[in-house]
């Protein structure tokens, strides 16, 4: 049985979670280097949380593929839920005032362009949270049981 054929829905959810979290992190870093948001600095906690979540998610996928059902592995989505959600909350809370400011007082092509990476990044992080939750309800590999 090929590798892909062995995978179940949980696998795809978790891969998408990794992609979304990675995209969220990339867009966060891009946003932190835009003209408008540069002065706010970069919160390393967000980077650490997202990195940890991505690593754990990969461990989860690989672990399940290699080890099958394992209570330790099953705890990873729980932990990732916390990591991703806290990362999202910190990201959003660091941007909400600026979003309001740009949309109401400083709206121009430059600020809107700068804002777009923040919006995309936050959406990616939230998507990662949802995908992680969804994936935790499904098998990672078909012969898990």
């Amino acid at each position: 049985m090929g590798f892909i054929k062995k995978q179940s829905a949980g696998f795809y959810f978790m891969v998408l979670t990794v992609i979304a979290a990675l995209a969220g992190m990339v867009f966060y870093m891009i946003n932190c280097n835009t003209d408008y948001f540069r002065n706010l600095g970069m919160n390393t906690i967000i980077i650490v949380l997202l990195t940890a979540a991505i690593v754990l998610e990969i461990v989860y996928i690989v672990g399940y593929t290699k080890m099958g059902v394992n209570p330790v592995m099953d705890m990873i989505p729980l932990v990732n839920g916390v990591l991703l959600m806290v990362a999202f909350a910190l990201f959003a809370s660091a941007r909400v005032n600026s979003v309001a400011t740009i949309l109401s007082f400083e709206r121009n092509a430059q600020t809107m362009a700068d804002l777009s990476s923040a919006i995309v990044g936050m959406v990616c992080c939230l998507t990662a949270v949802i995908l992680n939750i969804a994936g935790s309800f499904f098998k990672v590999v078909k012969d898990e049981e």
Binding site: R38, S104, E145
Partner: protein
């Protein structure tokens, strides 16, 4: 077995959901303090509470004129109607087309989509608050006219209303995209799109619409231009939607579809014998010369943005129930883009822009003092006098020689009435000891109907060789003072005494010696001073020219009345009378750094009437800032360092005082103020200056209350009447409201825009607005109001002009001062904004604004000065833009030396909504007397230090000067509060207690629930695993 394993995944999923949501609620609980201020404002909750014992009615200092919210709202509605009765300007009334007879009001056709979907407030900023189900529900134009007994053409009304979706436009606001069914203003980078439907579209929608006008032949066409904060009209064709091809040369000019609508009315009138009346529904002066000269248009009126009740007033004006008495607060030019100010109105990025420090663009106001009528009338006078190359073609909108008739459609101050008036300037006295100019003017109603008239006192000051040599500019005519009469019956006369502040005719000379032994002073040149009255600036300048011996033969547009001119001669230049301000401060140059030539010598040629064509402004763009300028624009201009005796600055003393002990103490030198402020802690000062957004927060050490801030200026419109109204019937508050009062949902963003208030030329009506704002403040417990826009209309292209009064400083100053002083009687802190030079919405966070100090002082600053010196305002909002290269909140000369020094401002001062930590310049702002930024956050040092990393007690506590600055600004802030209705209900027992809000409890409960969910899911998971194991998994 399979079922059990499925359950395992279900419990795993449930546990993941639980931990994720638990993390969300825990994160929310942790960061909620950062947003507590905003959340409380949004939800109407309070996280702190003032506890006051033994409260009596005497603890409530300020008294309302009204006994109920119904009376309060009735007063607002009544004032809104009267504002447009007196603020609507009749520009044209051929063959006495107006007023309409009673019969004519029964056969009216509204044309133009803006008749059905008018602009009643800004898109954002002074937006109309639509109220339903209250005692003062707002109305649109159709509703108002029908309520006033008009009968409207139902066929045409149905046609336009069925086309509603055609008039949809969107505006992006902080809370998302809002759909408007009316004209909207272009965004900063956007262009104007005309939504006026084509004739073909109208024919398709209703083939009989033209025929229907035979029975409804009073044809009222409404043409609108919207307004909005963070919006902008770009001059010329560049500002028009390039895809429309509607022969529109300027966003403030007409499109072909608008022309066709007017023409359809004119053609219908020719068939049905009716009348054509055009209403201008706008705040930025439009280009309407073709309407003026269209003989088919019988009447033309400027109605502004009428707010929620103003259309009642417009209806009354048309029917003759009210006789129009408004006068233009701006010049209506033929081509706005031809003005000298318009040559430098746009987005001019620095070549070496650096967004990291908000270094984006510049604007060079090279027109000097010559904006609005000061340009048009001065250049006109010089064409007549044959001086300064005034007749050359530079700035000519039609090409060829510059001629007034080709440039101005309607002058500043112009307005017609249904009656006629005669004004005689009986006497004029200049008293330099008292620093006043007093005129007595007899006004006689020479017509057939009763009406009010406006006395506009103008002066023409000498333009001398000294001025030419020292580049002191003089307007050929300038408004010095104004008064409005009471209603005069036909034949009735009244003598009006008009008293002006003589400083308003003084000129700033940056080269003059002064009492401070430096440079810069107000001067009165030697020579002949002319004073006159007139229906607008053009009539006034013609009177002056006539007195100077000129006639139509010299090129005057019409003869002047020299008998209505008084003169006063000053034998010798006066440099002493205004060398000190009213509080005794010696004046000197403070804004030389606003002249770009100080930074890059020889760059700018400022317009001078000595050579109109040779100095007519070019556009200053693609400029490169010098290294010194870049350094200044990086905004780090105050260094926190060890200086002074930090031990000598007292914090945290136990003097047993609370702010209520100083309630109503107007003497800021009273030693109790120092004693009280010695109690405040350094940390409190640092947190409160950093986080002052949306409300001043409680200060525990001195029991200073939270005072909620509100935006305007079309009424206190941030919150409903009921959000902070007292509903505690056990309270001693005389203005307790019933929790079921339907008026508690009322939102007071309903007044007309400021241009209409200016057009009333009535200080009394401005004061009445202050009265209702004050009363509303008492009932709603909303004491701080960013409600007086005192920036000038430098050009009509600033889409935010609706929040400012006029192009003229004197009209702005005295409308604002009357309004603020009246409100102060009720304890509301009405703040002028934006101090200063917020002349465009383009790149306002960072734009570097350059001009001469003469322009700065005689135009925009003069527009705010009376609000401080005369009305003694206790609140001020600063500006987004830079003052020269310096961040607006970091300019010591403007904020400390002029505002607090020369003018004696003693109140609270907030930044505008600047969220960028670098550009909000906290340490510089505190040093410059700013009492709070507009940021919000957790009331902890950690939070404020996170936002501004230099703002730590370790840093600041070594800088005694900065600590003194902190105590000063906190003193000013609390002085303002102590003299406001924010203190109502407080006494010596008042103290602050924290309150757990319902959302705090909800978050705790939610966290507990998710914890239980998580634990339960985990328990079930492990239970399942154990069973599986026992079952031989």
């Amino acid at each position: 077995m399979k079922e059990k394993k499925t359950k395992r995944r279900v419990w795993r999923g449930a546990a993941t959901t639980g931990t994720s949501l638990l993390a969300l609620t825990m994160s929310a609980s942790m960061i909620i303090d950062t947003f507590r201020t905003d959340i409380d404002k949004f939800l109407g909750t309070q996280s702190t509470k003032m506890i006051t014992e033994n409260q009596t009615e005497d603890d409530y200092t300020y008294k309302s004129d009204y006994g109920s919210t119904t009376e309060l709202l009735d007063a607002i509605e009544d004032l809104g109607e009267r504002m447009n009765e007196e603020g609507t300007v009749l520009l044209k009334n051929s063959n006495h087309a107006l007023p309409l007879s009673e019969d004519e009001t029964q056969k009216v056709t509204f044309l133009g989509f803006s008749s059905y979907y008018p602009v009643q407030g800004g898109d954002f900023g002074s937006s109309l608050a639509e109220n339903r189900g209250t005692d003062a529900d707002t109305v649109d134009m159709v509703q108002a006219f029908e309520a006033k007994g008009y009968t409207l053409n139902p066929t045409v009304m149905d046609m336009y209303q069925n086309m509603k979706e055609e008039f949809k436009s969107e505006a992006v606001l902080p809370w998302g995209v809002t759909t408007y069914y009316r004209a909207t203003a272009p965004s900063i980078d956007g262009t104007f799109t005309s939504l006026e439907p084509t004739q073909a579209a109208l024919d398709a929608a209703e083939p009989t619409w033209k025929d229907s006008m035979n029975d409804y032949n009073i044809l009222i066409v409404t043409i609108a231009r919207a307004a909005g904060e963070n919006a902008n009209y770009t001059p010329g064709e560049a500002g028009v939607n390039p895809e429309q091809h509607l022969n529109q040369a300027d966003p403030l000019g007409l499109s072909d579809t608008e022309r066709a609508t007017i023409e359809a009315a004119v053609q219908a009138k020719e068939k049905n014998g009716g009348k054509v009346i055009v209403l201008l529904n706008n705040a930025s002066a439009m280009e309407i010369d073709e309407i003026k000269h269209n003989t088919g248009v019988d009447a033309l009126l400027e109605i502004g943005l009428p707010g929620g009740y103003g259309f009642y007033g417009v209806a009354d004006v048309l029917s003759g129930e009210a006789n129009p008495s408004g006068h233009l607060s701006d010049t209506y030019a033929v081509d706005n883009s031809a003005s000298p100010a318009a040559q430098n109105y746009g987005n001019y990025a620095w070549v070496n822009a650096d967004p990291a420090y908000s270094i984006n663009s510049e604007i060079v106001e090279a027109e000097s003092i010559y904006t609005g009528y000061k340009y048009y009338e001065t250049r006109y006078a010089d064409t007549v006098l044959g001086q300064g190359n005034a007749a050359d073609d530079a700035g000519s909108s039609a090409g060829g020689a510059w001629r007034y008739d080709n440039e101005v459609s309607y002058p500043f101050g112009f307005g017609l009435s249904y009656t006629t008036f005669d004004q005689r300037l009986d006497s004029l006295k200049v008293d330099l000891e008292e620093k006043t100019v007093t005129a007595e003017v007899t006004v006689t109603n020479t017509g057939d109907v009763a009406g009010k008239d406006v006395v506009q006192l103008y002066t023409s000051v000498p333009y001398t060789d000294y001025d030419r040599e020292h580049l002191v500019e003089k307007s050929a005519v300038q408004l010095l003072a104004y008064e409005k009469t009471e209603e005069l019956a036909p034949g009735e006369s009244v003598t009006v005494t008009v008293t002006a502040d003589a400083q308003d005719m003084a000129s700033w000379d940056s080269t003059a010696a002064n009492e401070a032994d430096t440079k810069g002073n107000y001067i009165l040149d030697a020579g002949e001073y002319y004073f006159t009255v007139g229906n607008g600036s053009h009539e006034a300048v013609n009177n002056v020219l006539a007195a100077q011996g000129c006639s139509e033969a010299d090129g005057m547009t019409e003869a002047g009345d020299k008998s209505n001119v008084k003169t006063w001669n000053l034998a010798k230049m006066d440099t002493t009378t205004f060398a000190h301000t009213k509080n005794g401060t010696a004046v000197e140059n403070q804004l030389q750094d606003m002249d770009l030539n100080e930074h890059i010598p020889g760059t700018v040629t400022y317009l001078t009437r000595n050579d109109w064509s040779g100095t007519f402004p070019v556009t200053y763009k693609e400029l490169t800032a010098t290294d010194e300028m870049l350094a200044e624009m990086q905004n780090d201009t105050y260094e926190i360092k060890e200086q002074g005796d930090s031990e000598a600055v007292t914090f945290g003393a136990d003097n047993g005082l609370v702010l209520a002990d100083l309630k109503g103490t107007v003497d800021i030198e009273d030693e109790k103020w120092a004693e009280l402020m010695d109690q405040i802690t350094l940390e409190e000062c640092m947190i409160r200056t950093g986080f002052g957004g949306t409300s001043t927060k409680p200060i525990e050490s001195i029991s200073s209350p939270e005072a909620v801030q509100n935006d305007g200026p079309n009424g206190i419109n941030s919150y409903t009447l009921g959000q902070y109204a007292n509903k505690d019937t056990s309270s001693a508050d005389p203005y307790v409201t019933d929790a079921n009062d339907k008026n508690l949902n009322y939102k007071f963003g309903t007044m007309c825009n400021e241009t209409v208030i200016a057009q009333t030329f009535s200080k009394e009506l401005a004061a009445e607005f202050g009265n209702v704002v004050g009363n509303y403040s008492i009932w709603s417990n909303l004491p701080i109001f960013w409600g007086a826009g005192t920036n000038l209309h430098r050009t009509p292209y600033n889409a935010r002009n609706h929040e400012y009064y006029s192009e003229d400083a004197v009209l702005t100053a005295y409308q604002a001062a009357s309004y603020i002083a009246a409100g102060k009687e009720y304890g509301v802190l009405i703040a002028p904004k934006h101090f200063a030079f917020n002349d465009t919405e383009i790149n306002r966070s960072g734009i570097a604004t350059f001009m001469t100090e003469q322009k700065a002082r005689e135009n925009e600053l003069r527009g705010t000065q009376a609000a401080v010196e005369d009305a003694e305002t206790l609140a001020m909002m600063t500006t987004f833009n830079r003052i020269g290269c310096t961040a607006g909140n970091a300019h010591y000369g403007l904020l400390m030396n002029i505002l607090r020094g020369e003018w004696g401002f003693k109140g609270l001062m907030s930044e505008d909504f600047i969220q960028d930590a670098n550009y909000s310049v906290l340490k510089e702002a505190v040093h410059c007397g700013v009492t709070m930024t507009c940021n919000t956050g957790d009331s902890t040092m950690e939070a404020v230090s996170t936002k501004w990393d230099y703002w730590t007690t370790e840093n600041v506590s070594k800088d005694a000067e900065l600590m003194k600055d902190l105590k000063n600004v906190m003193t000013w802030q609390n002085y303002a509060l102590a003299n406001s209705n924010a203190m109502d209900g407080l006494n010596q027992t008042s103290h602050i207690e924290d309150v757990r809000t319902w959302y705090d409890n909800a978050l705790t409960g939610t966290a507990a629930a998710f914890s239980v969910l998580t634990l339960a899911a985990l328990a079930m998971y492990f239970k399942g695993m154990k069973k599986n194991k026992q079952g031989g998994m």
